[in-house]
């Protein structure tokens, strides 16, 4: 696994040593990673607010800053939970009505978790 990831890192190389170094730190150093998360999540929320494809792009961003695909998937699911939390807060008093909107609300929950996870697969490509 480690070997595969390393070989992936090689291919992830942008060609710019500076960028590569930053990406390496973001993926491996906890402090840098969380800073990147703080940048990526709001961007992802804005994208998700604009269109549901934004959920996929947001998942890809979360994956991109993750050390591995699997980390990326977990991070994307976490992002989905954040999306649902922000969505619920934004609904205010209407949240109960939305929860009773079965089966439509299943689409909401599944897409909140599933679309970022789909996007996180991007981490395995780059």
């Amino acid at each position: 696994m480690t070997e595969i990831d390393r070989s992936g890192e090689d291919e992830d190389a942008s060609g710019d040593p500076g960028i590569d170094a930053v990406l390496e730190r973001v993926r491996t150093e906890p402090r840098a990673h969380w800073l990147a998360v703080l940048v990526v999540v709001p961007i992802g929320l804005i994208l998700a607010w604009l269109h549901w494809l934004g959920l996929i792009v947001a998942g890809a961003l979360v994956g991109f800053i993750s050390p591995t695909v699997w980390h990326g998937l977990v991070g994307a699911l976490g992002f989905g939970v954040v999306v649902l939390a922000v969505f619920a807060i934004g609904l205010g008093d209407s949240v109960r009505g939305v929860l009773e909107m079965a089966p439509a609300v299943y689409v909401t929950v599944v897409s909140a978790l599933g679309l970022p996870a789909l996007g996180a697969l991007f981490r395995g490509i780059v």
Binding site: L45, A48, W52, S94, I125
Partner: protein, 811 residues
């Protein structure tokens, strides 16, 4: 690591990347190119269209070209609208109705204009074809031309502007987001269409075609036995014992004649669009002689379609001219049933015959019809019906001198309906709002052209009134007056309505004069429950009366209480509205128990029969949700009716919609032809055994398990079930005062009890808002089930800020 090993790792990594890339591409492609895309467009978190509707709230400040007004919603979501000028008030009425019920407004006009297929696809095409062929929109246009010139006209225009300001200025409700379309602007003609819609629901009756078909298939004898023109009971609305004044007028009596079938395809098709089964209502009035306060009391509950949101909308309007609160149909500016500071008015359906059918001699090409000794071209117009997911359909609307022409499988009839001309009901209702007592109201009632209703009124001076509203046609054949319960030869000029101008303005000269319509001025006690109006009417009124169970029960309860000398109060009348005593059970259960006893003595071993017999024996005929006896009786009654008529009707290819009513079945004698194969007693027992099997199979324990609110559906409830109200057990049956028809989704669509000039209470079956996310979407449902009414308060709370302030200006 060797070079070969490295190469395998790189190759494997490429494969993995390819798989992931493929998965990602397939996922995105699948989501964007399939039906999933629409679901995500609607319901994805944050971006979904549906959520735009979740945070709708009405604007606190709105510009109005008609001047200042204030709106405050009470704890039941009922708006109180206050303005110094009527146009400003009705602009605000339009605005709040547009905000609270916009989806309902749009769907109703689509139904009447034949535009539902544009949303729902081919499934709605047959309905649209009917509504286009009937040209209700043309009748509404003629009506608006007339109403526009009355004092009500400018207020209708202000109302329409208010609805459109709401469409432009507020977010759209959930239904529009789900369907992904925006409503067209509301028009005055749309408001007139609402009058046509409710009038059609109440009086659109092709009874003559149905009777002709039954006579054709089963014979005249069966027609007379199962569908008598007069039910054998003695509780008409205007009982002989009623002491009341009348207006002047000597009366003629019509005669009844036979019929001629026009074919089952046409009749079956048209029967789908008739008044829904069970459309009826209760209203009654007692004079101040019988009340604690010394003022009259009116109780009213119209039995119309139960739906989500409710058919009615409650509103309160305060202007210098009036202070009025009550219920209206969304799309109508004025309170239709309610109270002002001087009086209260209510309506139940008469069951009058205001629709006639005509057959014609038609030429071989089908382009001309014979009339008045010559061939005439049909009036023709091509209309297009848009169909979602399909090709547009073209339909030719044809009309004769009598009205629109309906055709199915080569059989053709012309239809004359009193709603197919300009009517002044909007003006009458506007004048009701401003009326200052009985004399005013009576004068306004002269303009109440449509529909035919039992008007029950009382005022703060203690006056009471019953009047049959609406125009009643008279018909002649060879100068002899005849009833309308037949199909007329249109080519021979039979049964024409003098003074009726379809899709124009009528003079009404050949109709029953106002003073000669059934009425009673200052009756002491009077109850209407859609039963026969009067035993010997001066003019033919109709034959589509309800069975007398409700009317009899109301009169019995009122007579009993008043005979005791005890005065009544509002609570007594609310309790009477809640009465679940079933007259059918009183008629039939003793006979059924005797039949069961006989069967038990003969050694019947049907599982549970003896226990069920005991349950029924202990039952007191009250159709309460928690009653086991009510459940057994209700299922038995339906099965008994089926077993009595089903074999013959099935052989004649007549479905359940043609079955006779419960009164006829209950009183069918043992020597009837319908008991030739199996005796009445045997049929009763067989039905009982079938009912027990059905109850066991379904797992029902109490009446409310079957008799529930599951039938109160939203128009999109099948696709979006969350829009429906919750399923709760309900009291009442189709024969009880507390009326609930689980089979046809009909029941008390509004209940009110009013002491004119004093206290008033009311409740809706659901809530006053049609907005799914509103607190008032279904907040009255449980109160309605219990008939727990809340005040129809016309006082104004001056404390606190209004919810909406309308300020002078253009929006």
């Amino acid at each position: 690591m060797s070079v070969g090993a490295n190469r395998r790792i790189v190759t494997g990594d490429h494969t993995r990347r390819a798989v992931l890339a493929g998965t990602l591409a397939a996922g995105v492609g699948g989501l964007t190119l399939t039906g999933a895309r629409e679901l995500l467009d609607q319901f994805a978190p944050l971006s979904g269209r549906a959520w735009d509707a979740a945070d709708r709230s009405i604007s606190e400040r709105v510009a109005s070209p008609y001047g200042e007004a204030r709106v405050r919603y009470d704890e039941d979501g009922v708006p109180s609208i206050v303005a110094d000028a009527e146009p400003a008030a009705y602009f605000a009425v339009g605005y709040v109705q547009g905000f609270d019920r916009l989806a309902q407004l749009d769907l109703q006009r689509r139904v009447m204009r034949g535009q539902v297929s544009e949303l729902a696809g081919e499934g709605a095409l047959a309905d649209d074809e009917f509504h286009v062929a009937m040209d209700f929109a043309g009748a509404a246009e003629a009506t608006w031309e007339l109403v526009a010139e009355t004092p009500a006209g400018p207020l209708v225009e202000a109302y329409v502007d208010g609805v459109n300001a709401s469409i432009d200025g507020e977010g759209l409700p959930l239904e529009f987001e789900l369907l992904g379309y925006e409503p067209e602007p509301w028009t005055p003609v749309d408001s007139m269409l609402m009058e046509k819609q409710i009038s059609w629901d109440l009086t659109g009756n092709f009874g003559e075609l149905r009777r002709a078909l039954v006579a054709d298939r089963l014979g005249e004898d069966v027609l007379e036995e199962l569908f008598p023109e007069r039910l054998d009971h003695d509780v008409p609305i205007l009982r002989e014992s009623i002491e009341a004044e009348t207006l002047e007028g000597e009366l003629d009596v019509g005669s009844v004649s036979d019929e001629d079938a026009v074919g089952s395809a046409l009749t079956d098709w048209l029967s789908r669009f008739e008044s829904p089964t069970g459309i009826g209502s209760n209203s009654w009035v007692v004079s101040g002689e019988h009340t604690e306060s010394g003022r009259p009391i009116v109780a009213f509950d119209p039995h119309l379609t139960l739906m989500t949101p409710p058919l009615w909308y409650e509103q309160h309007v305060e202007t210098p001219e009036t202070s009025v609160r009550g219920a209206t149909f969304p799309g109508v500016p004025f309170v239709i049933a309610g109270a002002n500071d001087r009086g209260t008015w209510s309506f139940t359906n008469v069951g009058a015959d205001v629709l006639d059918c005509y057959t014609y001699e038609i030429d071989d090409d089908g382009e001309r019809y014979r009339y008045d000794g010559e061939w005439r071209e049909f009036d023709r117009e091509e209309r297009t019906i848009a169909v979602a997911g399909g090709d547009d359909r073209s339909i030719e609307v044809r009309k004769t001198v009598h009205g629109p022409v309906l055709e199915r499988e080569g059989r053709t009839v012309g239809v004359a309906w009193t709603g197919h001309t300009a009517t002044r009901t909007t003006e009458a209702i506007y004048e009701y709002e401003r009326s200052d007592g009985l004399a005013d109201l009576l004068e306004a009632t002269r303009k109440f052209d449509l529909p035919t209703q039992n008007l029950v009124y009382a005022d703060a001076d203690g006056r009471t009134l019953y009047y049959a509203t609406g125009k009643l046609p008279t018909r002649e054949i060879d100068r002899e007056v005849v009833s309308g319960n037949r199909i007329f030869d249109g080519s021979a000029g039979e049964g024409e309505w003098d003074g009726f101008e379809p899709f124009g303005e009528s003079s009404w000269e050949g109709f029953v004069p106002f003073a000669e319509k059934p009425h009673a001025i200052d009756p002491d006690v009077l109850a209407t429950a859609n039963q026969r109006v009067v035993d010997d009417p001066g003019h033919y009124v109709g034959v589509a009366y309800a069975s007398p169970y409700r009317g009899e029960r109301i009169y019995d309860r009122l007579d009993e209480h008043l005979a005791s000398g005890e005065p009544t109060d509002l609570e007594f009348h609310r309790e009477l509205q809640n009465d679940t005593y079933d007259g059918r059970a009183e008629q039939l259960v003793p006979e059924l128990l005797a039949a069961l006893d006989e069967r038990i003595e003969d050694g019947d071993e049907h599982d549970g029969l003896e226990d069920a017999r005991d349950v029924l024996a202990d039952w007191e005929y009250e159709m309460d949700a928690d009653s086991r006896g009510a459940l057994v009786f209700a299922r038995w009654m339906d099965r008994f009716r089926e077993l009595v008529v089903e074999p013959d009707f099935e052989n004649a290819d007549l479905d359940e919609s043609y079955y006779p009513d419960d009164w006829v079945v209950a009183t069918l004698p043992a020597d009837s032809l319908f008991f030739e194969e199996r005796s009445r007693t045997e049929t009763m027992v067989a039905a009982f055994e079938d009912a027990l099997d059905e109850i066991d199979a379904a797992g029902w324990v109490r009446y409310g398990d079957w008799n529930s609110t599951r039938i109160i559906e939203h128009p999109f409830g099948a696709e979006a079930p969350f829009l429906n109200y919750p399923e709760l057990p309900a009291d009442g049956s189709r024969a009880t005062v507390k009326n609930y028809r689980v089979g046809s989704a009909v029941g008390a669509s509004w209940r009110m009890v009013v002491e004119p000039g004093g206290t008033a209470t009311a409740v809706l079956p659901g809530g006053n808002s049609g907005d799914y996310f509103s607190d008032h979407y279904d907040d009255q449902l449980e109160n309605w089930l219990a008939n727990d009414q809340t005040p129809m308060d016309r006082t104004l709370d001056d404390e606190g800020e209004p919810d909406v302030v309308f300020e002078e200006g253009s929006s």
